[in-house]
Amino acid sequence: MRRSLQFLLFTAFSLALCALLSLHARSVRAAADAELKGQVARLKNLQLTDLCLTTEARYTRHPALADRHAAYQDHPLALEHFPSGSLIMPSPHLRDAQ
């Protein structure tokens, strides 16, 4: 087969794969959402305020409720002690504070 046709076929195949993946996403989502909502309902009474993304430092575990300062709070300009601390900025409501 000509190279040009090979390329076009390959591109068409990739596009089809992309479309397939987006369909996969859609089909998986409905069931997964339902399951997640089930889990959420189970823990409803705990009224959780944060996702469990990183547990290495307390202030990054609950960023929505944490203070502005970093752990150890030794100096306002001190470097981050924990890796995830440099990825997770203080919450907007603390940053935009009056």
Binding site: Q39, V40, T54, T55, P92
Partner: protein, 378 residues
């Protein structure tokens, strides 16, 4: 119509043969491009999925959380505040929450300990998250020993292990009875970590928060929409991890597109001259260059996006989660629910394919428009 199609196919054919002439160079170009798209698309998928799940998970967050500050630091809240706050018009419920962090020296992990106020919460029993169960190899019925602040052991029997599907909420969670909580932390009676307020009318949340501050000036109310905003902005394009990755990806991309755009080699110029002399029009030459740009950028884009999807939704994004986990001992699996944000991917498409193709076509403009007779004289 058919002629036009044949023309495109023929010129594409020549494009492909030209590209395969300098195989090594073009393959490395393709690889770099693919890598950039892969990283950026992974980021898009990861961030969009997380934000979405945060939205679902946090819909049961309290309307207002009241914390108390002493000299700028968070302190305990007297449970008695609940009475006065409950009296504010519009407040339907005030629940003093008991929760905190427990450091487990055995494995070096932080647990989040919460007291449940359910009637079924019985002493000496605990519900734990899947992360803890895995880290300490626990099953239902096992005993988990925690050390209280009085140096005495508190033995908790594991009554339930939360399913792995809830790990984005509760991987590190231990839910105990209030009595056990107070014993564990020597927590003073009549105090709480914070207060969870329920409000009848969501529009009133701001007003009620203001009233709370008026009543108790040392309190700091955190509103539900602020909690949600934390997670929307946590993975915003302008924040933390995303900006670091974004900046380095775009920078590398700009460097290599610039390299492409800075002029034509003498050989390429000669070739274009030859093509023009054998009957190729300006339009044909530009089409050739256009196809050259498209072949590389479209292939890189499509493959990059496909690999990114696999990376994030089938492999749980190991590249990003490593950064996010940091030094955590307990962490969620990050098995995110797949979401495809077409808008963001289109933006990515236009930010990568269009500049690259332009950078390939434009430098040839001059050479493509020169008269064919120049080739006669070479």
């Amino acid at each position: 119509m058919n002629r036009s199609l044949e023309r495109h196919l023929n010129i594409l054919e020549f494009t492909l043969s030209s590209l395969s002439r300098r195989k090594a160079k073009n393959l490395s170009l393709l690889t770099i491009y693919l890598l950039v798209v892969f990283i950026l698309a992974s980021l898009v998928f990861f961030v969009t999925a997380l934000k979405r799940e945060a939205g679902i998970i946090l819909q049961d967050a309290p309307d207002i959380v009241v914390q108390r500050l002493v000299a700028g630091r968070q302190d305990l809240v007297p449970a008695s505040y609940a009475g006065e706050i409950g009296a504010i018009r519009g407040v339907t419920a005030v629940r003093p929450r008991l929760w905190g962090y427990y450091y487990d020296g055995l494995i070096g992990a932080n647990y989040t300990v919460m007291a449940s106020d359910e009637a079924t919460a019985s002493s000496d029993r605990a519900t734990i998250g899947s992360g803890i169960a895995k880290a300490r190899n626990l099953a239902v019925g096992d005993l988990l020993p925690l050390i209280t602040y009085q140096k005495a052991p508190l033995m908790l029997e594991i009554s339930t292990i939360l399913p792995a599907g809830s790990d984005l909420m509760a991987a590190d969670l231990i839910v105990v009875a209030p009595g056990d909580f107070r014993t564990l932390f020597n927590f003073p009676v009549g105090q709480a970590t914070d207060l969870a307020i329920s409000v009848r009318n969501p529009k009133e949340i701001g007003t009620i928060a203001a009233k709370i501050v008026e009543l108790f000036p040392e309190s700091r109310p955190v509103l539900k929409n602020e909690i949600l905003r934390t997670y929307q902005s946590l993975f915003d394009w302008r924040g933390g991890m995303t900006i670091v990755i974004l900046a380095s990806a775009l920078l590398s991309f700009i460097i290599f597109a610039w390299d492409k755009a800075t002029g034509l080699s003498a050989e390429e110029r000669r070739e274009i001259g030859i093509l023009k002399s054998i009957g190729w029009e300006t339009g044909d030459v530009l089409l050739l260059k256009f196809w050259e740009g498209i072949v590389i950028s479209l292939t890189a884009f499509l493959l990059g996006v496909i690999l990114a999807y696999g990376h994030v939704f089938f492999l749980s994004a190991p590249i990003f989660t490593q950064a996010l986990k940091g030094w955590s001992i307990i962490y969620p699996r990050f098995q995110l629910i797949p979401v495809v944000d077409a808008l963001q991917l289109s933006v990515l498409f236009f930010l990568t394919v269009v500049p690259y193709t332009t950078a390939t076509v434009v430098p040839c403009w001059r050479a493509a428009t020169t008269d064919p007779d120049a080739a006669m004289r070479s």
